[in-house]
Structure formats: C-alpha cells, structure tokens
C-alpha cells in the first residue's frame, strides 16, 4: 500500500494540449450533468439520474490513460465514465430521454449506457454487478493476447458486495489485466461509508496480494499519473490493481435527492465545492504554471456549453422508438 499524492510531480507528465483536453472533458461532464438536472426539473426526462458532478477527475484521469479499445464497466452513476471513454453527449441525452437515437435505442436509459465503439461494456444498475464482467473482459483480452486492459469503476458502496471479493481473488489468481477503480464519494446512497465499511479499504485488495493505493480523486493530474502506471503494469502482464479514488458527490444520490441535511451538512458540500473542485484545481494549476490563460479556458467553457445545448436539442427533437421495437433485441 502506498499513497501517491505527489506522483504527478514525478510520474507521467501531461503536455499542455492533453491538459486542455482533460479540462474540456471534465467541463463536458459537469455541463452534461447540469443539463440532466434541468431536464429532470422540467419533467422532460423520464425516471431519475445519478449525477457525477464533483467526481470528474476520476473518470477523466483514468480514461485518458486508456487506449480506445480498452474496456470499462460503469455504474448507476455512469455518465462521467461514458463521456470520458468517448461517448458523445447527443446520443447520451437521447438515451436519457428514451429516444431511438440513444446508445441503447432507448431501451437502457441513464443507468445502462453501453457503447462497443468506445469499449464501454455498459453502465450497471446492480451495485458491484459489473465487477465480474470487467474481469471477464480482462480475461478475454489475456486469452486473445490483444493487449487490452479493463477498468472496473465502482463506488465505495460496492465494497459491501461479496462478488467483489470473489472476483478480486480470481483476478489475482489468474493475473488479469484489470484495474479496480473504487470511487469513494463517501456516501452509500444516503449513508456515510464509515457506517458501512469495517477496517481499512485498502487492506481488502491487499489481502489478495493486489497492489492497492489511494489517490486524491479531485486532482486529475495525480489520478492520471497513477492510472497510467497501473494501466502500463496491467498491459505488461503484471496483473490486477486497485485504485481508491477519494472524491465527493456534489449532488444527491439522484436528482430527486435535494433535501440532504439529514445525512450530510450543507457546510460539507460547500467546502468541497469551494476548495476541492477538480475543474478549478486543474484550471488554477495550469494558470499558475503559465500553461494557459483564462481566456482559453473561457473559450472551452463556451464551446462545451454550445455543444451541450445542441446535444440536448438533438435529443429533444429525436423520435421515440416505435412500439414495434419493444420485442427486438431480447435475443441476438
């Protein structure tokens, strides 16, 4: 077990162009989620969504360390992973609105976005339900000798699921190229993780002999540097690893969870927002390093805003699937 808070100073370094791309990706996720909330408030979106705002550095930092053909599995809070791995906002909004143009032709919705073109095996609405799938993709990559790796994103809530420990054991036994990315946003739905998690989180993967470390999940450069190393190790045949990303969920468990005082203080939320925001941390660092000036960042913000607006408009005007499609795709 090691901590790698300062790895970005010594490990993989990012060029200005990739840093700006990372900034754009994080901004894209934030803007995407703000509009999801709007669509919910306007009662345009069916059902609910679990917003990723605040956790952007985790998905982007890790996915930027991956090849396009590497695999990910995602969670019910999955929009960030999907976008970070290469999905586009227009088809994602279409899916969220149940439209035919969506990634799943409207059959999956917010919690099931999947996209073979970007290696996304799918968001999964069973907490911890995709850990086997991720290890299976890694298993397949190893069998086929493709050099691909798999990243399994899951929240700290999944630490309570037995399947995780079966699969950690199997992936170490079989030396699978899989990275377990545990996003600790501190809340299992409406319960602080300290009430649900005995012992030390990192001691659990360590018990299987899996290299495990924690990173500041708000610092995208650190996440990226550590993820790059772990992905490189996996690709080099060194087996699985476990990356605990400490982060924070700005919004509620889902868009309808607005009165949160009974499980966490407003003060806590504003502190994270004001002092630990991953987009601001990156922007401040880039400016302080004179890698970029504010107008360039403003330009990215404006571009993302219009991209998101156009994507929402596309989804709103897209047609619903015909009812005749309801029985399609039950079987291949």
């Amino acid at each position: 077990m090691t901590t790698a808070a300062n790895e970005s100073k010594t490990g993989a370094t990012l060029g200005a162009e990739q840093l700006l791309h990372i900034y754009r990706q994080m901004t894209r996720i934030r803007s995407f989620e703000e509009q999801v909330n709007e669509l919910y408030l306007r009662a345009v979106m069916p059902g609910l969504s679990h917003l990723y705002s605040g956790e952007e550095a985790v998905a982007v930092g890790i996915c930027e360390a991956l090849r396009p053909d590497d695999y990910i599995t995602s969670t019910h809070r999955g929009h960030g992973h999907c976008l970070a791995k290469g999905a586009t906002p227009d088809r994602m909004y279409a899916e969220l609105l149940g439209k035919e143009a969506g990634y799943c032709r409207g059959k999956g919705g917010s919690m099931h976005i999947a996209d073979p073109a970007s290696g996304n095996l799918g968001a999964n609405a069973i907490v911890g339900g995709s850990v086997g799938m991720a290890a299976g993709a890694a298993f397949s990559a190893k069998m086929r000798g493709s050099g691909q790796v798999a990243v399994c994103f899951f929240g700290e809530g999944a630490l309570g699921q037995g399947l995780l420990y079966e699969v950690l054991n199997l992936s170490k036994l079989w030396n699978l190229p899989v990275i377990y990315a545990c996003e600790n946003n501190m809340y299992n739905e409406y319960t602080h993780y300290s009430e649900t998690t005995a012992g030390e989180i990192l001691a659990r993967p360590a018990a299987f002999g899996i290299p495990a470390e924690a990173v500041d999940g708000q610092d995208v450069r650190t996440v990226h540097a550590v993820a790059s190393r772990l992905v490189g190790d996996a690709r080099a045949g060194k087996g699985p690893s476990f990356l605990l990303c400490n982060t924070y969920r700005y919004r509620g468990h889902h868009v309808g969870d607005v009165n949160r005082e009974y499980y966490r203080a407003k003060q806590e939320e504003t502190t994270w927002l004001n002092t630990r925001d991953p987009i601001k941390i990156l922007a401040d660092w880039m400016i302080s390093q004179k890698l970029v000036e504010q107008p360039a960042l403003d330009k990215i913000q404006a571009e993302v805003k219009s991209e998101i607006e156009a994507a929402v408009a596309f989804a709103l005007k897209s047609p619903y699937p015909g009812v005749d499609q309801v029985e399609e795709d039950v079987y291949a």
């Binding site: 059959k107 799918g122 299976g136 054991n169």
Partner: protein, 330 residues
C-alpha cells in the same frame, strides 16, 4: 443398404463429445468451473478434456460461482464463447444476478450493441439421496427470464445435438443435465449434427393421450406409456427439449390429436414448467380436449433425504399410469 455410422454413447459421453468437437472447431470456446480439469467434474462428464485442451481452456475455478459466472459474461461479451459448469442446479441461486440481471439483459439493455454467447451447464433431478440443497430442478426459474434460452436433453442424441446448438448460439443458454441419466446409453451418429432449439421431439407416437415430459421425466413417461399399452391405451410422449424457445405448435397438435394431455416435469409443480405448458395446451387445443390438462411435478416440499420420503416427492411411472388411466376413463 448404406452403412449408418451410429454408436452407443452415454449421456455424459455425448455431452463431452459435443464440447470437444466444438472446442476443436472454435478456439474461442473454453470451459470454466469447479473441478472441471483433472477431476473432470464429480460426474466425470469432462474426463479427458483437460488432457486434450490444456488448463488454459479447461479451467478450474475457486468455489466462487457468481465470480466465475460474471467473468464468463464479460469474456462472452468480448470475443470468447465460455461454457460455465455449475455443478449442482441448486447453485443457480448463487449466480442469479449474473444470469438474470447481467447475461440475460445485456443484449436488450444495450439496444443490441453487445451479445453474450455463453453456455451455463448445470444439473437437475433428485433420486441421489442428496437432500434439499443438491436435488432441485430449477429450470422453471431460468425459463421465466426473457433473454435466456433453456435446454433439457433427455437422450444422448439430443444432448449432443443441443449442446452444439447451445455453443453456436449468440445468447446465454442454460443447459440442464439430469444427474441420474449421465450413464444412460443411446445411439449417437458419428457425423456432425446439431438440433435446433424450439423443436419438440415425439419420443413415442400414440392416439389416446399425450404425455408431455421433460428431461428426467421422459424415461418415466415412456415407462408409463408401456404400462398403458398393456391395458389398451396408446400414449404419445412428446419432449419439448427446450422450455424456451418452446415448440408450442407440436405440443398443441399432439393434444388435438389425442384429445387428452398430461404434463410431467421434475421441477416443483406449483408455478412450474408444467403450469406453463398446460396453459399452452389448454389454450391452443381447447376445443379438441376431452378432459382438463393434468399436471404432475415434484411435490411442493424441499427434497427430503430419507429414501422413502424423497421417492414420494418425485413423479413415478405408476403415478403417471394411474393418472392417464383415469383420464382415459379406464
């Protein structure tokens, strides 16, 4: 007369031969499960497989059914064709999330983007004095779930041909083998063949009553048919072979022809396979039936250990004979 290349194989040999031939044909096929390699499973179905295909394709796992089933789902999605071995059908309860919420739904939830071409081999049936947690027949659970296909062979011939189809299918297929029938022998052609899903097989033709029987109950039904013949009742025995897809047409046609039907299956009777099939026949053959469709399944109790108790829970030839006799008013 041309020479027909047919040998007698046991059920276990037929399953093994299908797996071996498919593994020779397609390098993406591999086997994974508890004690599948050197042990060849406790039922010895896979004996010799690891010697031919090696440990990289006949893979022993820890006792972690959900874990390795989940790995099979992910491997199937990404270019492999796994065959997972779940030693006892009772352990399906452990893999329900992976089969029901993951494997069965991936294709639909992704709008057809991902496929899960995997086979889950498992067992059913009592009679081994193995008590409540090693004797159940839970194929109705699997048949209930859209996205899964469910196969129940009753002869070595069917087992081999259906296993080939299962491996070549692009969907998750659950393949149930009766533990008591592994040593039963039957003719199996030497040449390659596959049996399509959703095609029932008339195991015996008859005129007076239709007995629809699955898996372990097919030999029971054939035994009862022989007893019925002795008292002048001609029973037709129909084996659906797959509960999903289900060959409704053949079942209905047979019931129309004979005007009476009994459905027998080793799963629990209540809410079971017999209920579904009886409903199909009652609806499809209503105007041709001379009696209500009768169902016989396992008793609605956990399978007991004590031999006389266990025997009382499983449908028998005698029970089937008596029931058919009564329906034919003899």
């Amino acid at each position: 007369m041309p020479e027909v290349a047919v040998r007698e194989l046991t059920m276990a040999e037929a399953v093994r031969e299908a797996l071996a031939e498919e593994m020779r044909r397609d390098p993406r096929v591999f086997i994974m499960g508890e004690d599948v390699a050197e042990a060849g499973t406790p039922f010895k179905v896979l004996s010799g497989m690891v010697e031919e295909f090696g440990k990289s394709r006949v893979i022993d796992t820890p006792i972690s059914e959900p874990g390795f089933t989940g790995i099979a789902v992910g491997a199937a999605m990404t270019g492999m064709r796994p065959v997972v071995d779940i030693m006892f059908g009772d352990f399906l309860t452990l893999v329900m999330d992976q089969m029901v919420n993951q494997a069965a739904k991936v294709h639909y939830m992704s709008g057809g983007a991902w496929k899960v071409p995997m086979v889950l081999r498992t067992t059913l049936g009592g009679g081994r004095r193995s008590a409540a947690q090693h004797s159940q027949s839970l194929h109705a659970w699997m048949s209930h779930v859209p996205g899964l296909k469910v196969v129940l062979p009753s002869t070595p011939y069917d087992a081999k041909g259906l296993m080939k189809t299962a491996i070549r299918d692009d969907n998750p297929v659950v393949f149930f083998e009766d533990k008591m029938m592994f040593k039963v022998k039957g003719p199996v052609p030497v040449e390659d063949y596959a049996i399509p899903f959703g095609v029932a097989d008339v195991k015996r033709e008859g005129e007076d009553i239709t007995i629809v029987a699955t898996s372990s109950m097919v030999p029971v039904a054939l035994g009862a048919a022989k007893m019925l013949e002795e008292i002048g009742i001609s029973a037709e025995v129909v084996d659906p072979r797959t509960t999903w897809p289900l060959d409704e047409k053949t079942l209905i046609e047979s019931a129309k022809k004979t005007s009476r039907a009994i459905v027998v299956d080793e799963g629990y009777e209540r809410y079971g396979v017999t209920a579904e099939i009886a409903s199909v026949i009652a609806t499809g053959a209503f105007y041709d039936l001379d009696a209500p469709v009768k169902r016989i399944g396992a008793m609605h109790v956990p399978v007991p250990f004590s031999p006389p108790l266990e025997d009382a829970t499983i449908p028998t030839e005698q029970l089937l004979f008596e029931t058919a006799k009564k329906m034919c008013k003899r």
